[in-house]
Symmetry: D2
Subunit: 386 residues, 4 copies
Amino acid sequence: MTTPAPAAAAVPGTLGVAVVGYSFMGKAHSNAWRNVNAFYPTPRVTQQLLVGRDATQVDDAAARFGWAESSTDWREMLERDDIHIVDICAPGHLHAELAIAALEADKHVIVEKPLANSVAEAELMVAAAVAARSRGVQSMVGFNYRRLPALALARTLISDGRVGDVRQIRVSYLQDWLADERAAMSWRLRKASAGSGALGDLASHAVDQVAFLLGDPVASVSGTVNTFVTERPGPAGLEQVTVDDAAWATLRLASGAVASLEVSRFATGRKNSLQIEIYGSRGGLRFDLEHLNELQYFDSGTPAELQGYSKILVTEPSHPYLGAWWPAGHTLGWDHTFTSQAADFLTAIDSGTPTSPSFEDGLATQRVLAAVEASAAQAGTAVAPA
Amino acid sequence: MTTPAPAAAAVPGTLGVAVVGYSFMGKAHSNAWRNVNAFYPTPRVTQQLLVGRDATQVDDAAARFGWAESSTDWREMLERDDIHIVDICAPGHLHAELAIAALEADKHVIVEKPLANSVAEAELMVAAAVAARSRGVQSMVGFNYRRLPALALARTLISDGRVGDVRQIRVSYLQDWLADERAAMSWRLRKASAGSGALGDLASHAVDQVAFLLGDPVASVSGTVNTFVTERPGPAGLEQVTVDDAAWATLRLASGAVASLEVSRFATGRKNSLQIEIYGSRGGLRFDLEHLNELQYFDSGTPAELQGYSKILVTEPSHPYLGAWWPAGHTLGWDHTFTSQAADFLTAIDSGTPTSPSFEDGLATQRVLAAVEASAAQAGTAVAPA
Amino acid sequence: MTTPAPAAAAVPGTLGVAVVGYSFMGKAHSNAWRNVNAFYPTPRVTQQLLVGRDATQVDDAAARFGWAESSTDWREMLERDDIHIVDICAPGHLHAELAIAALEADKHVIVEKPLANSVAEAELMVAAAVAARSRGVQSMVGFNYRRLPALALARTLISDGRVGDVRQIRVSYLQDWLADERAAMSWRLRKASAGSGALGDLASHAVDQVAFLLGDPVASVSGTVNTFVTERPGPAGLEQVTVDDAAWATLRLASGAVASLEVSRFATGRKNSLQIEIYGSRGGLRFDLEHLNELQYFDSGTPAELQGYSKILVTEPSHPYLGAWWPAGHTLGWDHTFTSQAADFLTAIDSGTPTSPSFEDGLATQRVLAAVEASAAQAGTAVAPA
Amino acid sequence: MTTPAPAAAAVPGTLGVAVVGYSFMGKAHSNAWRNVNAFYPTPRVTQQLLVGRDATQVDDAAARFGWAESSTDWREMLERDDIHIVDICAPGHLHAELAIAALEADKHVIVEKPLANSVAEAELMVAAAVAARSRGVQSMVGFNYRRLPALALARTLISDGRVGDVRQIRVSYLQDWLADERAAMSWRLRKASAGSGALGDLASHAVDQVAFLLGDPVASVSGTVNTFVTERPGPAGLEQVTVDDAAWATLRLASGAVASLEVSRFATGRKNSLQIEIYGSRGGLRFDLEHLNELQYFDSGTPAELQGYSKILVTEPSHPYLGAWWPAGHTLGWDHTFTSQAADFLTAIDSGTPTSPSFEDGLATQRVLAAVEASAAQAGTAVAPA
């Protein structure tokens, strides 16, 4: 099943990596492993193995993406001594099985977000991660936007007290690829395969950012979901859409702060707009993924006649992650987050320090998403995540 | 009580106007009556009477604002034949009494928003308006943002089908004047005087816009409210804040569309930001009151590679209201909405056509606000406005 | 010739005003005089006389705009004791004659910009203004953008040293009403009537702002002009365009700073975009007339990781002119500048303090514009204004 | 001199690449060669050799950047059969010597911009490129911004007639790293090493874009340059700055269009702002490198009340280059331009089609820059590039 490539031999003294999946996320994660050593002073890696279902396609992808070998059998990577890191970009319903097996095989594991399709699966994964951690095996869930320099800067500003006590948070993640009611049915619109719709796909990022930026647990959730177009053309005629197109929630945080959440695949003209607004007693912050190199900051301490949101171009060497890349003023793109994520994971492996976000963090997000669904099922009545 | 000014005699053939109130709103409405005939070909008006509580202050304001006379007795205006229009800018708890009395005296009545402090009061006002209407007496509630050219244009685009079927609406009205926890107690923060906080003050505009733009009744409401700072320094020490600082709601509309609503006086750095986003099957719209001369429009019918939100500078002669003002490219400000509102009211009086928004419209908004409070009292469980 | 209106009698103790012109600028200046006392604590004025060429039209305009009387004979206003202020909105080639006559009749004179169509005319006007000033008679040229709160704030920030030493300035004024090559011929496109094209109309504002903001005289000018569409349809067939469609210049200022200037009526999609950028040793400023309530400020003293242009919403009570208008967060429009200009002129009349901009300031601008034309005639070779 | 790396053997059937230089540009070009095959279906490459002056540093850089070998002797690459492409990122004064030698050795050559430090050098390089081209050897100059999807889209829109006849162009490239007068002396501020200042560094990009977007030769140039801070602290005390800090020019194009140009290292708060505005008879375009994923387009054919600049997020699969990268809505960064540039060069090598920009294009830009200096030396008098 394995297709040896010319440079198949593992490079001594490096960490061998295997990625499972070769489509969108597999391509993005491959890009990260191919480039991480060029930018970050982390342990060196070898792109050892790309795993996928279709032999021809995975072989072709391996050649293009820089992998030494490919395989259609994911169990192979667990048995090899030259694989130290397993990076799971397979569909969500496979996360638990693969991650748990890899952790038990003492591989460091990174799982693309969201952690799992259900709280139950996520809990099993956390148990495996806790056990592995005691053996020095690391694990992480791939909420890549934690590595956006602008959001990493936002987090620092908040923890440094530059916005004061945070009271109100607005997070939305808006896309529009379903706005056309003639758009076709797909696995993403079936509950069996996708678990949920905008909720798992988009709200997971939003909820993770609330946790990342504020570190303030969600105490209760009132939410609702909606499916605007309930039938779509499938291969065998019109088919029922069984996931949400959009979701809304109000999250009360332990501190007393309140976060509103809105996600949608029907927001016509919004292509990939994760927007975050943080309002505090001493300042405010604003971010939009469509301008990912920018953070807007309002400092209430500025004299009244000069106050206003500053548009910070987050491309200075003193900004998070930027020192690894280019001189001041040179913008990054979406994919750089994965390279930085790989670097952070390598550093955590090397130093034994906690990962961020851990599987526990991923489980917490999962619980909030489940609470949105639970509240929605009760006409919006607030429930506590559990 | 009356202070005759030099030109106190009513001008024959004009409509005499009386305004009640001379502070913020009284100043804005006075400005409208002073200027309406210079811009709009409406019936001519005479600024006859300014009514207020403090004789010295109302007399001074009348002189500055261009009124012929002033009075401290609001009943006077009901008895005079040279007063045809009564414009009520008094505090909300006086709206019902004054408006009903004026309507019964056959005066055309315009009431500053919101219509009343309670649904019960609003219902009485509607009854009086209906009765007066049968006698040819007009009434209107002053949601002045209906006269923003950009929002009037938005409404036309929606009714012309240029955004297709509307599915998702986002409306927020964010201010920050309470973000400083040391800001003082005031009548606006006491339930007895203000009725509610951000809800009545800000959400009323937001809810009215949903009605104005879409004409799609609210079927159910899930909401919550919050008071972030519960005590503030008053004249006699710390005092309890008894209204909401912020409110959130999800509105399900009769058509199946869903609107989210968020209003706050704690949104640090947002000075007067009423934001509206409309997402439909054929296009999208965006608006922010802080850029009130602009409307952003996304047309899904544009070729894919050219699609994007167009920032329309709503200052062309072909745009709503603009023909009355300046040549293309010359922006209007916040106060021009009141002049256009006065013009529309005069036209309705002259032609006998329905006013917009009517007292009925004002009552409908009141019912939605009451539903937010009712839902909030039940942990967010959805309720129908009634 | 005079059409007495009902309230023709002058109001004792007020300053009587006459405006010459009733089209675009006459309407804007009338609006200013009608409203100035409602907002500013200046001497009180009476809208006494509107002067124009067409008896019917000026009479109608006077009624709409609030003037007590109208006249078709501009000399009448010079002879009347109840006229104290003459405001000249007539076409440019009449400025010199009217202004000089009015000053000699001891009327305070405000002239719409630009001061005149030529340096020679402007010099005569300055002579008359100097002579009148010695008799306590004031004069001003109406560069209304000096009264934009955002630009008045910019000036204060510069003079307070908040941008440090200014080195580089970029000023452009872009419109697009000639971009359509089929747009018709008009008096504005004939040198005989208009003097120049974009240069006199748009560059005059730009040059005045350089003077206003920096107070740094122009030492030399290199420039060029262009006419993109040289023939346009006139009433009798195609006609030659004899003014510039666009102009460019580099201005070296006495301090060593350099300003670039670009004005155009061909900038497709720019409706009324006066843009100003100021770059100094300690900060930067940016402004666009299409967002006239905003000023952007960059403070080099901010810590590097927080630096960025702040978008200041110039609507706080502490901002220039704003105290006269509405509470914080309520935006002004284009026409408010004229009301503030009238207030400033009344204050100068009342207090005897210097006007801004004076006729001398208007002449200085005229000399810079003439230098652009002189340099353009010499293939861009730099010349000193004279 | 050569340091063999583990995988030093050339990969058969691939094109071997050598890069000269390992600092900023060497890092960016290495990144391109490392990634080009992962995204583009071009001929496959092998990262064979990194050349630099310091053996230790170049060896370390080679290891990090993915090169098989390193060398301190640039002549080595000319002699090896496994090197097919030479990519020159060495300082400008070395471009001519290296490029000519490489072309004569039948290596395909890409040279980082600007082509050379002088017109004379550039002419020699063009001669060598012409001769090599007749032998099937390709050459290109690395104006990477031609590969920005937004600017490639702009070019297509212009050539498709979507902006009509272009009349007016505004190009500026503004940075601020010299705004602090205490910033230190460096080789970039000495004429001997850098040739010029902002002119060669920034205006070269701007002039290349005018050529790329419009294909309209520059007929005459009026320009000026300035050095705001004439002395800066060097290793041995204050030293004279001998290059320009900023430059301005007006370019008359063959078609009659006029382009203005402004570049500066003193534009406080502008980090890397290449701005382009194109005004035509049927539309307009706007671009800013600080938002490199966006293009703004104004279509004069849209109904008047809907006209406005559309902000196109240039991340659709139908946009130039985007198909190679990520799904719709995922933004690229600055460095992706180099990968796309490498792909285009490989395609030209493979297909024998002309490169863009060719050395001839680079020479044309050089001539315009020389004309700016010549005009500046004559007080701005217009000169023709030659």
